[in-house]
Symmetry: C2
Subunit: 399 residues, 2 copies
């Protein structure tokens, strides 16, 4: 079985618009065909028929842990170490807060300028209320060397959202632990993109979203991993009733639930979790190593094609596939207009300010024919200057 053919059976399980080449699964994965039926069942057979009893009889209350365990298997983490809920921004807040509490005599949260901005924003908000705290942001290549004994928490995103550049997570974790710092790892562009093994990489916390490579849909719930060694020591700042040891005892005071369950906050996103479950049903049919191999192959095909046919586009991602996540970026001063022209030609990538054209390679539903088509359409746009039209330059709300 070739790398390409072994994903034919997964490609058939997604809703993909006719003749569209979708290279933006790094931003929002496509719809799993089974999701509609799954959601209808959740609505009609569970909510509709069971009503309030769905919390027990349909397993809604346990769903954040059950789905968390499915992700844990994918991410090399033990059962009971991941729980679903909220959004990634909220999970970053929870993780950095808890990580700071573990190192109470230090104030510095260290991150890098390649991190996704919301991670930095959430730390800014967290530090508004913490009496001591300082966010230090360095260039990505200086992150490792900036880890010193003043650092409480290293907050890093494993894969740069713009360039796809990989951090050497395991060695950064080792360096941080050697000086007594903790690590919060953001897996937004890693989960479903590259093999992740939380046991081996050994961060203290990890967080991620599920609407990108994992194909959980717009607004899909986020996840948080807490290393088992820390779980019982954490006093959550977002101490909601569903993270309480006994939510239905309605005690006046908060007592954290056992383990990672204390990172739950409010009522779980039942319907969104059922969509995500449909997406994970597909993920469980493949090995992450095979996905990674196929993604590298597609990425290399794309880079080679673009570099030979579109010399104006400059590779922004590391050339070495081992240094890249599952996305490839090019730079061009008119990147925004080029991406718009490309979309109108049926190839969806995205633009990231100031000049990045970003393309995601997602073997579950993308094959080498798609990549060839994308290169061909991009080459035509560049060759004929088709992007140079006013309507391709009007910025939309979401880019």
């Amino acid at each position: 079985m070739t790398a390409s053919s072994c994903f034919k059976h997964t490609k058939q399980q997604f809703h993909l618009p006719e003749d569209l080449v979708y290279l933006d699964g790094n931003s929002l994965g496509p719809l799993p065909l089974a999701a509609t039926e799954k959601v209808s069942a959740t609505l009609e057979q569970e909510w509709g028929e069971l009503l309030i009893q769905g919390w027990n009889k349909a397993g809604w209350m346990a769903a954040p842990s059950k789905t968390g365990d499915r992700l844990a298997t994918m991410l090399g983490a033990p059962a009971g170490s991941i729980v679903m809920g909220d959004t990634l921004s909220i999970k970053v807040f929870q993780a950095v807060d808890a990580a700071m509490d573990l190192v109470p005599d230090r104030a510095v949260v260290l991150s890098d300028s390649g991190n996704f901005p919301t991670d930095l924003y959430m730390v800014e908000g967290l530090l508004k209320n913490r009496s001591a705290g300082k966010l230090k942001v360095v260039e990505p290549e200086h992150l490792a060397s900036a880890i010193d004994p003043s650092v409480a928490v290293v907050l890093l995103t494993g894969v740069d959202y713009r360039t796809g550049r990989l951090h050497d997570t395991a060695s950064i974790v080792k360096k941080a632990h050697a000086v007594g710092a903790t690590v919060v790892l953001d897996l937004a562009h890693s989960a479903g993109a590259i093999p992740v093994n939380l046991h081996d990489e050994n961060p203290d916390f990890a967080v991620g979203c599920t609407y990108k490579y994992l194909n959980g849909g717009p607004g899909a719930p986020a996840f948080i991993y807490v290393a088992p060694r820390h779980q019982q020591r954490i006093r959550p700042a977002l101490s909601g009733w569903l993270g309480h040891a006994a939510p239905f005892a309605f005690d006046q005071h908060y007592t954290p639930a056992d383990g990672v369950e204390r990172m739950r906050v409010g009522t779980p996103p039942v319907v969104a979790l059922s969509i995500l479950d449909a997406a994970l049903d597909i993920w469980e049919q493949v090995s992450m190593d095979a996905v990674r191999q196929a993604s590298i192959k597609l990425s290399e095909q794309f880079i080679a094609g673009v570099e030979s046919q579109c010399p104006e586009l400059v590779l922004a991602s590391p050339r070495d596939a081992q240094q890249r996540g599952s996305q490839v970026s090019f730079r061009h001063p008119e990147g925004y207009a080029i991406v718009q022209a490309l979309i109108s030609a049926g190839v969806v990538g995205d633009f990231r300010a100031p000049d990045i054209l970003r393309f995601g390679f997602t073997p579950l539903y993308l094959d080498s024919d798609d990549v060839a088509k994308a290169v061909e359409r991009l080459a035509l746009i560049m060759r004929e200057g088709r992007w140079d039209q006013p309507h391709f330059k009007i910025k939309a709300a979401v880019t």
Copy 2:
């Protein structure tokens, strides 16, 4: 048109299991029939076909404000003062944090023991990080008299989750403002239950969930209201990228968006919002005053029936309908078993520790025939002691 008949057209728009009397809409409202189709459209026509472009073309990015404006109309608030997202617990955290910032020289958050516990838990978590802060909890009837110039924030839930007792919100707000305190009003058991006019009641912040009376489904998004006079002054603690002035500029630093939009945090719950929209389509066919009148009528019918036929049950709610929300509670030492026996007889209410049997009256899908049936079945259970069986006493995870 009688009060009962005027809701026939709304009752037809819900999925209600055959022969079930559902008196738990105060905990989880039933499924609007239109929700399945609406969600399927969101999945297949929007997510499936538009993919990443759904954020612009299907209006996903604006959805939290658009749905917020629909709620604002229901709650007597101006457009642009409510935004949807996250869970109620998170919204309590945001509101109390912002309310404390408005009164920086004071430390006390005042609440009452009738408040829903998660509100108190979230304040405990918030105060973990704030250098000065004290949660003071008094009995509900002493809340007003405990408001003094040491109080920064009064956190009150308009309707007591156990007894349905109403706070006189407007007068508490007046008293708080007179001493320079701010008010966070939790509308969990008010929105869709009683007429609410945020303009007249004048709290500084209001928060609520949408899965109870509003029928938004399990895990439906919460909402937050910020009084227009405060919106530009707030520096959110949960400063996520979608509350940023320019989320897609990917600035390194957080700059709050205009107005209430800054209370957005992460990616909006697109699918859950489409379900809620289906529910609000029904709400927009009725007047809240008519709902209130009908709810009082149903509640009075239930109280009269239960008191005449089940003398062992002691009314826990205020007898005066004007002092009650849309739910009625009774006390019995074996409340849990009685509720279980009642559920097995096709009448769903719920139990709240230690001894409360709680019943919600929701005219959108409940009429006087239903109430008569509920009284009859409850009376039979009490008369014959049918609740006194071991299997009715086994506590489920969710009660």
